[in-house]
């Protein structure tokens, strides 16, 4: 980004944008930039950049602002930030529910991603622990997953302590002979997973999808007893465990968004993305080293049939 003697270009772009949008009555309703949140993982970047590119197509000014997963919530409530494409219902802390309840943050609905959470292990562990992927196998071969600190119990990496204690509760609830070790941070969990894969060391860890690690390495999921409806994590039994309740991913916005940019609000409410959209984008960026802008533009070019109706409906 630079403004070095690019001012003429900027003016031209602004004029172009203005003339382009003249067709759609009074969109954008406000020339102020919509501040769109960028978190620090690639999946969210893909969703965000696609949303941003669509808004730009409609004629809005977009500013991408980096924000941490907790700090973004006060930012949204105070109107310093305006839109977040992905809020994961399983990792929101204490502030977010309060702010949604008081109306400071508005939920725009489900993004359409189908996240999966559960325990993963590398394929080579199936030789050392026959019976996987069924969770019942873990009772017999906990020692295959043991280390010095946990012996004779197995070692299970869980989410960082500040993301709650769900894995530990499940382990305690169904009496698995495993010791849970909190991951500390996402980076630490990834580092542990990749280094285990490199040495073919035993490992089993709590993880979520979509995540780029699945594009880089093969992992299998521990399978639970299938049930109808939602899994209730607290009341599972040893012989009949359903594992984890699955999260939803919501789009959220600042409470003043709808009044200030009504058409944008409508479009974003309609927008959905699938796991495949996101995984393809993540693979391009993280594995093939492509620029995120290019990847988003490519998605727009290939999926015109999907997003045209959103924009048309929003512009009416």
């Amino acid at each position: 980004m630079s403004y070095k003697l690019n001012i003429p270009a900027f003016v031209a772009a602004a004029l172009l944008a203005a003339s382009g949008t003249a067709a759609f009555a009074d969109v954008p309703e406000s020339p102020d930039p919509i501040k769109v949140i960028m978190n620090d993982w690639t999946g969210q970047h893909v969703s965000t950049k696609i949303a941003g590119a669509l808004l730009e197509k409609m004629g809005y000014n977009i500013e991408y602002v980096s924000a941490g997963a907790l700090p973004q919530h006060p930012g949204l409530a105070q109107g310093n930030l305006h839109f977040q494409a992905e809020v994961w219902s399983n990792n929101v802390g204490d502030l977010y529910p309060k702010m949604v309840e008081s109306g400071e943050i508005v939920v725009l609905g489900d993004l359409g991603l189908e996240p999966k959470e559960g325990w993963i292990y590398p394929p080579y562990m199936e030789e050392r622990c026959p019976g996987l992927p069924d969770y019942q196998a873990l009772y017999d071969c906990a020692q295959a997953f043991a280390t010095a600190e946990t012996f004779p119990n197995g070692r299970l990496i869980t989410y960082p302590a500040d993301w709650g204690t769900r894995s530990r509760d499940v382990v305690d609830g169904i009496d698995l002979p495993f010791k849970t070790i909190a991951g500390g941070s996402e980076g630490a969990m990834i580092a542990e997973l990749t280094s285990a894969m490199a040495t073919e060391a035993p490992i089993i860890s709590m993880m979520w999808q979509p995540h780029w690690i699945f594009a880089a390495h093969d992992f299998n999921w521990v399978e639970w007893t299938p049930i109808e409806g939602d899994c209730v994590e607290e009341t599972q039994e040893k012989d009949n465990a359903c594992g984890f309740a699955q999260a939803t991913v919501n789009k959220v916005a600042w409470s003043g968004f709808e009044d200030k940019w009504p058409a944008a609000f409508k479009m974003l409410s309609m927008m959905t993305l699938s796991n495949d959209d996101q995984n393809a984008g993540i693979l391009e960026v993280d594995n093939n080293g492509r620029d995120i802008h290019e990847v988003a533009a490519e998605w727009l070019a290939n999926n015109e049939g999907r997003w045209q109706p959103w924009i048309e409906a929003a512009m009416q």
Partner: protein, 692 residues
């Protein structure tokens, strides 16, 4: 010391040990000795949360106003720095470096800035720099004003000093949240956090500086009829300029390190954010490359401000022509204009093309993977033995750590008796040689090692520390220690606090022993000294997060990794102080030692080290402070002490919990600081050395 006082303190100690053993014996009957009852926990953090809500509700507008005002200067500087072609900015930095010290620094600056451009992080670097550029003047202004106030008013000083200690020891993760809630989301959060962390050294240096002005200087000022204002600005301040500039230098360094930590909030795409993003992806190579940017920036700024501080003391009486005087200004302006023009023609001088970015990140990752794959057995062996034989015994004691699985045998009654007798014999032997204190230390250590830090009843731990505090620093320190530790108990943080003390304690001891050994070597060998110095500089200025990833990849999530990360950061001051202490001993003493025919080893052990010990103790003090600072970061690799609570408070948005845990960490740091400083001063006085 008189014999009587030795005996009295011996009986005091014996009483402490007896009470401790009594408590341990009674702990099975009275559960509250181990676990403080939940019902009696003081709901301190809830009150703080209520207070915070009230503040935000009623005074939110005030803080938001400040925030709005501060946004502007940051925005302007950011636009200028990221708007200028990199070639122009780089040239101007080099000119400043040249003026500060000369060609060598200018060349280093050129290399450092080119590095930022070539690895493709120029814009992020400038965003970080612009935050520093605003926060440093603010910190200097606040720090100088508070320092002057403290200098003129004793009452103010008594309030200021403990406040400074808190600002420097409460981990930033604990106060980022309240700043966020009060000032709103944005760049300002990082700015305020970095001002809060970086103004204390400015206050300290201002006060020291103003105090050190010789009375003769003041008198001559008064005699020449200076008004109070003139006396201050034209006599006092110029005479202690060097000390004040040292404060500026320290404030800048502190600000740089905090800008990185504060970027966990977000708001600017700066270097800190990039470091965090690469760490989240566990990209070791990339995170190291980005982290180097901050390290380089810190080194350049450090040398430049130091250089300017030294230079300002030179008075050059020679007459100069206008051209000579403003030569460098002219060079800067002409050069910058020229480069700006060139950059319009050759765009590469303004925007480094993405395709030309050079990044060895991937190959560094592959190197690390190679290491992990090929040395796995050795790594595992090192880790397990450290865990079984060092960490576990200290944590849960020999009674819990020794088992057939860990040590290869079970702890029988015979072992216990032998252990008790052996320890008693060592203690007695110390006592017979007249080293009563050493004997007592051995006995206390034996008790700790047998039962483990986490299973000794809290009243005993408080008693022991209070007693040590009293012996070292008198009644005030003893009382302070008791109150501080009591705070941890009544707020319900005791168990976590002991985990922090345990991890930090081991880390500090290992860092101290390891660092001091290197320091001693470096003091006797210039080559080693020259080799160690750049490593020290890099370790100290590298963002703390960066150290974590390689350790996790090699040693896995858990306490051991946390321990190593802390050691990697905390051994540096031990090296520095040991070398400094040994190199600055009075020549006469060493000569006297030589004349008496001491061998090299005798000279070292019996003359040099005892004399340098007080300075080395200051090194231990700094090692502990660094270890506590790093402890908070180590929470990211899965440790379980207070640091984890601070972190949970931040990510849950629970202000009270985080700040109380942060205060507990500050208390540990302050107590450790007072004890080591107190001991060092006492010892220096006994040796008849000049107190530093």
């Amino acid at each position: 010391m008189k014999l009587g006082s030795i005996e009295r303190s011996f009986f005091h100690w014996l009483a402490v040990i007896v009470v401790t053993l009594g408590c341990i014996a009674a702990k099975d009957h009275w559960g509250w000795l181990i676990e403080y009852p939940d019902a009696l926990i003081f709901p301190f953090s809830d009150w703080l949360n209520v207070m915070m809500d009230w503040m935000v509700k009623h005074f939110g507008w005030f803080f938001m106003g400040i925030s709005w005002v501060l946004e502007w200067p940051i925005w302007v500087v950011q636009k200028i720095l990221s708007g200028l072609p990199w070639a122009v900015t780089m040239f101007l930095f080099c000119v400043v470096a040249f003026v500060a010290t000369g060609w060598r620094l200018a060349a280093f600056t050129l290399g450092a800035t080119l590095y930022m451009v070539v690895i493709g992080y120029w814009e992020e670097s400038m965003n970080s720099l612009s935050l520093v550029a605003i926060s440093v003047p603010l910190a200097i202004f606040v720090g100088f004003s508070v320092g002057v106030w403290g200098f003129y008013s004793d009452r103010a000083e008594r309030a200021i000093m403990p406040a400074l200690d808190l600002f420097q020891t409460v981990p930033a993760f604990a106060y980022l949240l309240p700043i966020l809630l009060l000032f709103g989301f944005g760049t300002v959060v990082g700015l305020i956090a970095s001002v809060l962390y970086s103004f204390p050294p400015m206050v300290r240096n201002t006060m020291i500086g103003l105090r050190s002005v010789a009375p003769e200087v003041i008198e001559s000022g008064l005699m020449s009829g200076a008004t109070p204002g003139q006396l201050f600005w034209q006599v006092r301040v110029p005479s202690c300029r060097k000390q004040i500039l040292l404060g500026v230098n320290q404030a800048t360094m502190a600000s740089l390190s905090m800008v990185i930590i504060a970027s966990i909030i977000g708001g600017t795409s700066d270097i800190g954010w990039e470091v965090l993003s690469t760490i989240r992806k566990a990209q070791f190579g990339e995170s190291l490359l980005v982290g180097m940017v901050i390290a380089l920036m810190a080194m350049v700024i450090d040398r430049v401000t130091c250089g300017l501080a030294q230079r300002s003391n030179l008075y050059d009486p020679s007459e100069k022509t206008v051209l000579q005087r403003y030569r460098m200004w002219a060079v800067a302006i002409i050069g910058a204009t020229l480069l700006f023009g060139l950059a319009q023609v050759f765009n590469v001088l303004a925007d480094w093309p993405r395709d030309n970015v050079w990044s060895p990140g991937r190959s560094m990752n592959e190197g690390l993977t190679y290491l992990i794959v090929n040395y796995r057995p050795q790594i595992e062996a090192l880790k397990t033995s450290a865990f079984f034989f060092v960490m576990l015994p200290l944590k849960i004691g020999l009674q819990g750590a020794v088992s057939p699985f860990t040590w290869g045998f079970a702890l029988t009654a015979t072992h216990k008796v032998v252990y008790a007798l052996a320890m008693a014999a060592i203690a007695l032997w110390c006592g017979m040689r007249g080293k009563t204190i050493a004997g007592i230390v051995v006995m206390l250590f034996a008790v700790f090692l047998y039962f483990g830090l986490t299973s000794i009843p809290w009243p005993c731990v408080i008693l022991i520390y209070t007693f040590i505090g009293w012996k070292i620093g008198g009644r005030a320190l003893g009382l302070g220690t008791a109150l501080g530790l009591g705070f941890m108990v009544v707020t319900g943080n005791w168990a976590e606090a002991m985990l922090s003390v345990y991890l930090c304690g081991i880390a500090a001891i290992i860092s101290f022993v390891f660092g001091t050994t290197i320091g001693i070597w470096a003091a006797h060998n210039d080559k080693v000294s020259a080799f160690v110095r750049p490593i020290n500089d890099t370790m100290q200025t590298m963002p703390l997060f960066v150290i974590l990833i390689p350790f996790v990849m090699v040693f896995k999530i858990g306490e051991f990794t946390g321990l190593l990360a802390i050691i990697a950061y905390a051994f540096v001051p031990a090296i520095r102080y040991a070398e400094h202490g040994l190199r600055n001993l009075p020549e006469t003493v060493i000569e006297a030692g030589n004349m008496m025919g001491a061998t090299r080893w005798q000279l070292l052990w019996q003359v040099k080290i005892p004399l340098a010990l007080p300075v080395m103790m200051l090194g231990l003090n700094q090692t502990i402070m660094y270890a506590i600072a790093m402890l908070v970061i180590a929470a990211l690799v899965g440790t379980n002490g207070l640091e984890q609570i601070v972190y949970i408070g931040l990510s849950d948005g629970n202000f009270g919990i985080g700040i109380v845990a942060g205060l507990c960490m500050a208390i540990i740091a302050i107590i450790a600081d007072r004890m080591t400083q107190g001991w060092s001063k006492k010892r220096q006085a006994e040796l008849g050395l000049e107190v530093q």
